[in-house]
Structure formats: structure tokens, C-alpha cells
């Protein structure tokens, strides 16, 4: 480190460090963390008066096209290896649990329709959602509870998490593949089912779930 840098560090105790120094700081923090960090989290650890937002722009530019890239995940940022180099990392791979078709579809429905109630998921898939599916997605921290819906029964809703976006390399939910087209085609509209159209069966569920769903159905058929 040059003596100029040294001075900068010392000065930083009293005033915001220079931008280049702030860039180094967020670089170090992001490198050290496996989890995405938000600007606020970084700012809290930085010397008083720092504004990591500006430094972040510089840092992202610096890592463009590198072997590690700076990914944005919702409101947070994280360093991730470039996707084209995954083949080098085969030895680091840990086998992720295989998801069932039901789990994958449920996840997609939640991502594209969020916040989504269980009834909505069932309506789209035409089959009841087993408790295990939701539990598994929750456990993987890919979905979380959203706000309750303001419909009769006030059903709980599900949303995808930052960990979901991190896993699938999405900056925001707006980056979901084909989201615009789906919306344009009206496929994301919540069209209430017509009249006596059959809903998903209740035969294989336990009582709790049936009760939960009854609550949810209030919103499907109630209006």
C-alpha cells in the first residue's frame, strides 16, 4: 500500500474515505461473504459518511467479464464465479436435492404469480398442493410467506426469496424468463374460475390441510 493510501485510511476516521477506498472496502466485504450483502449492511461496517452505492457502480464495472462477477440479488450484491467457468468447479459441486415435478411447478407458479395463495397454485395446477412441497421449498429458503390476501379467509401468500434469485441468477423478479410475454398473453391474470368448474380433489389430504384450503377457497368462490 502506498503512503498515500495510508493517509487516506487515517483521514477516513474523520471524513468519508475517497471513492477508490470505498470501492476496495466493498470489494473486501463482498469477497469475504458467501451471502449477498445489501448496501445498508456494508455501509454499517464502513467508516462514517461512506456511500457504497457509488463505489458499487465502479466495482461492478471492474469485474465485468472477469472470472468472478458481481451479481445483484434483489437489494443485495454478491460475487459469484462466471457461469461459463462452472466446468472448472466440478469438484466443488455439492449435489443439490432433486426437486419433484410438483415442487418445480409450484416454485414457478409462486415466482410468476407472487404473492400467490395456495388456492391459486392449486387452481393453476389443477391439483392440490401437498404440504411436503411447500415445506421443501420453504426449507430450501426459496419461498417465504408474503402478506395475507385481503380476501375472505385472509389466506397466506407465498413469495420467492433473495436466495431463490441468487440461486437462479436473477437480479429481480422482473428478470424471470418470459415474464413480459406471459403478461401480454394474459396468462398471469387471475381469472376466477367459471361456475361449477371442478377444483382440485381433497381426497388425499389431511384434515389440517383441508381446513386451510377451505379457508383459501373462500377467496376462490366467495366473490
Amino acid at each position: 500500500m502506498s503512503s498515500e493510501d495510508q493517509d487516506a485510511v487515517e483521514e477516513s476516521l474523520f471524513q468519508a474515505p475517497p471513492l477508490a477506498e470505498q470501492e476496495r472496502m466493498i470489494e473486501a466485504m463482498l469477497f469475504a461473504s458467501a451471502e449477498p450483502l445489501s448496501l445498508r449492511e456494508m455501509s454499517a461496517r464502513m467508516p462514517h459518511g461512506s456511500d457504497p452505492a457509488e463505489a458499487m457502480v465502479l466495482l461492478r464495472k471492474r469485474y465485468e467479464g472477469r472470472g468472478v462477477t458481481l451479481a445483484r440479488v434483489g437489494d443485495s450484491y454478491a460475487f459469484r464465479t462466471a457461469p461459463d467457468l462452472g466446468f472448472l468447479m466440478s469438484r466443488e459441486t455439492t449435489e443439490t436435492r432433486k426437486l419433484s415435478r410438483a415442487a418445480i411447478e409450484t416454485l414457478a407458479i409462486i415466482a410468476y404469480h407472487q404473492p400467490a395463495t395456495r388456492a391459486e397454485i392449486e387452481e393453476i395446477r389443477g391439483v392440490s398442493v401437498s404440504r411436503g412441497t411447500i415445506d421443501q421449498l420453504m426449507e430450501m429458503e426459496w419461498i417465504r410467506f408474503g402478506r395475507r390476501k385481503m380476501t375472505p379467509g385472509r389466506p397466506v401468500t407465498y413469495m420467492v426469496t433473495d436466495a431463490f434469485m441468487d440461486h437462479f441468477g436473477l437480479e429481480t423478479v422482473r428478470d424471470l424468463p418470459g415474464l413480459k410475454e406471459l403478461r401480454a398473453a394474459g396468462l398471469l391474470d387471475s381469472r376466477p374460475p367459471l361456475g361449477s368448474f371442478p377444483g382440485p380433489g381433497e381426497t388425499e389430504e389431511d384434515l389440517d390441510e383441508a381446513m386451510e384450503r377451505d379457508e383459501d377457497q373462500g377467496d376462490m368462490f366467495g366473490d
Binding site: T81, E92, A108, Y112, G126, R191, S196
Partner: protein, 267 residues
């Protein structure tokens, strides 16, 4: 499934592709994700855009599927049968001229909604597949191999106020004023104290002495104290008599009480 039953039903299915699809349906009926899934699979045999699908044909295909399952004694879950009943109803609606007195959505509206549902399910499946094919963390993209834990250093600052300081000092300096476990009985002379007093003085007297003279200094003036001291000294004197160490005498009622130690020879 036996070969016989397959051959028997051969004529039901017109093309090889359809037959394959139907076989897949029957063999894998457990693997289906409900009646909508079956309908979506059946719709592929029409080889048209889902928006242009013939719901009537689809309804017929589904009903045939349910029939086939029945003939094979495959137990279908209730919702498959509910769907079959609904599709039979839809079919009749679509075939018969609309009844103006009947309320609710028309056959075309119901058919359109079913087509919408199929298209939506199809779209979600495609997106799910696209999602799974993305560069995924832990497969294509990797996190830092040696993440550093942010160390949480807990600094404890101890503090005290001036009041704490002064009270602390006062507490030590005045400790002697506090006698733990002793009730505040300033004007009471206990019998033990009186006894100690008597025992100490008795050796110096050989003759009758008024027991009042055994009352310690400082206990004579204050009437409250004198009363207490007199009583306890009298009680202490009785103790000594009982122990055979002294003799008491009183010449008259309310006259002074005298005490005389008893020598060892007298005991």
C-alpha cells in the same frame, strides 16, 4: 397390464401416436398431476396451438380415457371422475343449442376457460423448465469457497455514577453502625448482659449488696433503660441463686433486694 386387454382395445385408438399417449396415460396414471395434467397431455394429440384446440374433442378423449381406465379396473382418484362428469356436462352444452332460460356461463365460455387453463399450465411448465436450465448457484456459478465470518466483538463498558461512588464509600465507612441480625433494642438490657455484669462484679463483694448497684453505668438515668436493666438484673440474680452462687434477701415489701455471693464452702 396384460397383452390381451391391449389387443382388445386396439381399435379404440386410431394412430400409433395416440395409442402411445394413451398407454402412457394408463400406465402412469399415478404419475399424473391431476386431471388438468391428463387433459394437457391429451391435447398434444391435436397438434394445434392450445388456443385453437377443440375442447369438444378433448372432452371426448378424456371421457374415453376414463372409460379405458375403468375397463382396466384402474382406480381413478375422485377428482378425475369429477372432471369426467364436468366434461360430459360441457360436451352436452357444446352440442345442444343454448337454452335461453338457463343461467350461468355458456358452453363456449366454459370451453374457453378450460383452454385458458391448459394454456396457463403449459406456460408455467415451460417457464419452470427454463428456470431450472438457468446458470444455477452450486452448479454453474459458485460462491466464495472460504467465506470469512464477520467477527462480533462485544465490548462491555462499565459505568458507575457519582452517587454509586459516594454511597459505596458511605457504606464502608459506616459499616460499624450496622449490626446485622440484631434488632434495634437500644433501651433493653438483656438478661445475658445483666448476667455478665453480675458475674463480673460478684467476686469483688463479700457482703450483702443492693442488686441495683449492679446495674451498669448509663442504665440508671433513663427511666425506660433503668426499668429494663432492673428487671434483667433481678432475673440474672435469680439465675445465680438457682445456680447456688448467691443468696438473695428482702426485708420488707418493696424494700431493696440484697445479694450476697455464696462461698464454695457454703454451696
Amino acid at each position: 397390464m396384460s397383452d390381451d386387454s391391449e389387443r382388445q382395445d386396439d381399435d379404440m385408438w386410431e394412430t400409433v401416436a395416440e395409442r402411445r399417449a394413451a398407454e402412457a396415460l394408463i400406465v402412469d396414471v399415478d404419475g399424473f398431476e391431476g386431471p388438468l395434467d391428463v387433459l394437457l397431455t391429451l391435447s398434444r394429440t391435436q397438434k394445434v396451438d392450445l388456443r385453437k384446440i377443440s375442447v369438444l374433442t378433448l372432452a371426448e378423449q378424456y371421457l374415453a380415457f376414463v372409460e379405458k381406465a375403468r375397463s382396466l379396473r384402474i382406480e381413478l382418484a375422485a377428482d378425475y371422475l369429477v372432471m369426467a362428469a364436468w366434461l360430459a356436462f360441457l360436451k352436452s352444452r357444446l352440442l345442444l343449442p343454448p337454452d335461453p332460460t338457463e343461467e350461468g356461463p355458456s358452453g363456449e365460455e366454459l370451453a374457453a376457460h378450460l383452454a385458458f387453463q391448459l394454456e396457463r399450465l403449459q406456460a408455467m411448465r415451460q417457464r419452470a423448465a427454463q428456470l431450472m436450465a438457468r446458470d444455477r448457484l452450486g452448479r454453474d456459478r459458485f460462491v466464495r469457497g472460504v467465506p470469512e465470518q464477520v467477527e462480533l466483538a462485544r465490548n462491555v463498558t462499565y459505568t458507575a455514577s457519582l452517587l454509586d461512588l459516594m454511597q459505596g464509600y458511605a457504606r464502608i465507612r459506616t459499616r460499624d453502625e450496622f449490626r446485622p441480625f440484631v434488632m434495634d433494642r437500644e433501651s433493653i438490657l438483656t438478661m445475658e448482659e445483666a448476667l455478665d455484669q453480675l458475674r463480673g462484679m460478684i467476686g469483688y463483694t463479700g457482703d450483702w449488696v443492693d442488686i441495683i448497684s449492679f446495674i451498669p453505668d448509663g442504665w440508671r438515668r433513663d427511666p425506660k433503660k433503668r426499668r429494663s436493666a432492673t428487671a434483667s438484673t433481678f432475673a440474672a440474680a435469680l439465675e445465680l441463686v438457682k445456680a447456688g452462687k448467691a443468696t438473695l434477701r428482702q426485708s420488707d415489701t418493696f424494700a431493696p433486694i440484697h445479694l450476697k455471693p455464696r462461698g464454695p464452702d457454703e454451696q
